[in-house]
Point group: C2
Chain length 133, copies 2
Amino acid sequence: MSGRGEVLQLEVLDILRQRNKPVSAYDVLGELRKTKVKMAPQTVYRVLAALTECGKIHRLESLKAYVNCQHGSHQHASILSICDDCGRVEESVAPDLLAKLSKVTGKTGFAAQRHVIEVHGLCASCGTGPAPA
Amino acid sequence: MSGRGEVLQLEVLDILRQRNKPVSAYDVLGELRKTKVKMAPQTVYRVLAALTECGKIHRLESLKAYVNCQHGSHQHASILSICDDCGRVEESVAPDLLAKLSKVTGKTGFAAQRHVIEVHGLCASCGTGPAPA
DNA sequence: TTGCGATATGTTATATTGTAACATAATACT
DNA sequence: AGTATTATGTTACAATATAACATATCGCAA
């Protein structure tokens, strides 16, 4: 393993941390291009894949976007709550729920390998006092 | 509500039923274009959105594709098991699990509205005897 | 029944997201 | 050093999705 790409990984991680919201691959690309004009999509996707793989970021399938992992990194699947109003994402961990899920899907002999759990709704701030017009 | 678009809905539903596997919007488009040369993406997406809305089909976010609902139609969120080998999708229903999920994500005051649950893995046929080389 | 507002559908164009394929460079091993 | 292997850079393009506006249909009131 080289150490070249790792600098870029940190840079991308920083971008996600600063935004603290879901960011699309092309947004990341745009950010990177501010300093690296020749940056290509492929490169960004590779970095995002690497970061996702090692659990430092999460991909939000239903938003086609990425967020920084709030726990720094972890292996077990996350439950991601997406506020459809403010866009912020909360991360929950519930191993027992994952186990139950595997059990449910396993009834037919299905062997679960990767869980994608995304919950859309409204976060506490946006749900309670939604500031009427 | 008109009855014009409903014919198209049935046609799309038929395509998904016949394939019995996840189908991309553009695959559906291609199929439709066999008889309707001028069919446009927008139209297909609108039909798919309508069918999804009323629960007759499900969108697989992690595959960017759609499947026919195995139960004909329903309102509660489905748990979709996707076999990464043969591509087939199984559908589970587990209201208690959804309730638990809402409870977990609700700890912070988050109000869940829509659950996206997709499980990748291997189905019974593909997992047990994967036909060695 | 006709006129009009609201809604659905058709059409064109374009935006966004994602990868294939190959060139080049770094690494690791003999 | 020489060479196989893996990572990275680069170009081009494929696949997915939506904006914006035109046209048609419907529901309803005057």
